[in-house]
Amino acid sequence: MAKHVVCAVSEIPPGERKLLETDGKRIVVFNLGGEYFALSDRCPHQGGSLCSGLVSGHVESPKPGVYHYSRKGEMVRCPWHYWEFDIRTGKSWFDPKRVQVRQFPAQVESGAALVEGPYQAETFPVRVEDSYVVVEA
């Protein structure tokens, strides 16, 4: 898999997301409090764009009428049928083994490393002094 520079880290503030289009793939990169996660932008159901989906938390319940709401901002819902996916894993809530969004490794690299490395950053200039979000896809 090739490494793609998505953008400078400052372009995806915490809680935000950015769409990367490369080699015919559409990949959405989320920033969860400084951690970056990259998922295919195609919902495994019918291909809805997760990048335009609602991001919400996870709600669980030990019994009817009791709502335990946690992990705010870490679940994305496909805009077409509202299927929920865990941004950290790409797994659906209702069938995590069989229904998953493809996940890609994402990390932050320094501009200095990028200038030397075998990265594809041809779409914008990389500055040595900045950090960048990089996705392997």
Binding site: K63, P64, H68, W83, F94
Partner: protein, 359 residues
């Protein structure tokens, strides 16, 4: 072939029999003096419900009617027409009399108690093969609980009974004490076709014809299933078995498809529903097979969609007219399913059937 040959070797359990109350005068011996006099003074002659009009062909099979046009009024009729004829080992009585339609809750409780005591004295006491449902006066949840406690000691009561179109969706939390009582006493919760006429029989309004109303029961069953699942009533009462009586069967997979598919998207509304609705249903919902609602050639394929051999219970639906002659097993029901449908599934559904001994 003797009439009951189709059942031989199966020791069948009939899960839906309807003893019919001849008139209100049959119930007054089971009321206290006040209500017995009220019935006479107010000239309350009958509570036959329009859900099952006596003269409608479906209500009583033609050759099961007596000279007066009525039927299913005596144990002798039940023996000749079903129990002895089909070699039934155990039959479960589900009395359908219009007690659910009564709006005065005190009157409803008095009449329902009388109905249950009538069932006990006129039917259960007269044939050891019989078991019955406790009809619930759901006009009052508190009174329903009292009625369960009053009768649960009689182990011949194996189920409690509600109508599919009653006061409110049955999953609502107010009803849960009833489900808790059912679990505690080992009673199934039976839901039978029919309306208490608190609401139109369809969600789009009142029907004009008997035909519309009979078909509309299916929508009622769908709504009750959705309520029981989404409210969490089933998952909160995992030992509860809910039996759909005279519900039809083949509508279930199509309905489930929509329920489960939509659940995937909006399950956050009901986060206590942690398993796919179909799984919950397969564990806790049972259906009687009269009527089944499929042509003979399609039955096996239709049933395959249930993905479970454990859900169906055989019933004659006596005296309702679901079949002619001795065709009491829906044509097309696969032979391999007969041991389960005719007997084993009922034993797994009704905890008290294992006891055998009478009260």
């Amino acid at each position: 072939m003797s009439p009951s040959a189709i059942f031989q070797g199966h020791r069948p359990i009939d899960c839906d029999l309807h003893p019919m109350v001849p008139s209100m005068r049959a119930l007054t011996p089971y009321m206290d003096e006040f209500w017995a006099d009220q019935v006479v003074e107010r000239n309350i002659t009958t509570l036959d419900s329009q859900s099952w009009p006596i003269k409608a062909p479906k209500t009583i099979r033609a050759d099961w009617r007596g000279p007066n046009g009525r039927g299913a009024e005596t144990v002798e009729q039940l023996r000749t027409q079903v129990l002895d004829r089909f070699g039934i080992e155990t039959g479960i009585l589900n009395p359908l009399y219009g007690v659910q339609l009564v709006l005065n809750a005190d009157m409803a409780v008095a009449f329902t108690r009388a109905l249950n005591d009538w069932t006990r004295a006129e039917w259960l006491d007269k044939d050891d093969r019989l078991r019955a449902s406790i009809v619930l006066p759901l006009q009052s949840i508190e009174a329903s609980l009292e009625e369960i406690e009053r009768l649960a000691g009689d182990r011949r009561f194996v189920q409690v009974l509600a109508l599919v179109m009653g006061d409110r969706p049955l999953g609502k939390r107010d009803y849960w004490p009833i489900y808790e009582a059912c679990e505690r006493h080992g009673l199934a919760f039976g839901i039978h076709a029919g309306s208490a006429y608190r609401h139109p029989q369809t969600s789009v309004g009142w029907t004009s014809w008997y035909l519309e109303e009979y078909a509309a029961n299916q929508q009622g069953f769908q709504s009750q299933l959705a309520s029981l699942i989404t409210e969490g009533a089933l998952t909160q009462h995992p030992k509860l078995k809910v039996v759909l009586l005279e519900s039809g069967v083949t509508w279930l997979p199509g309905f489930l498809w929509r329920l489960q598919k939509t659940w995937k998207g909006v399950r956050f509304e009901t986060p206590w529903v942690t398993r796919p609705p179909a799984e919950i249903l397969r564990d806790q919902i049972r259906l009687t097979v009269q009527p089944l609602d499929a042509p003979e050639t399609e039955v096996e394929r239709a049933l395959a969609h249930l993905r479970s051999d454990d859900m169906l219970l055989w019933a004659s639906d006596w005296p309702h007219w679901q079949f002619d002659g001795d065709d009491a097993i829906p044509p097309g029901l696969p032979e391999r399913l007969l041991p389960k449908v005719l007997r084993e599934n009922a034993l797994a559904t009704y905890a008290r059937l294992h006891e055998g001994a009478l009260a």
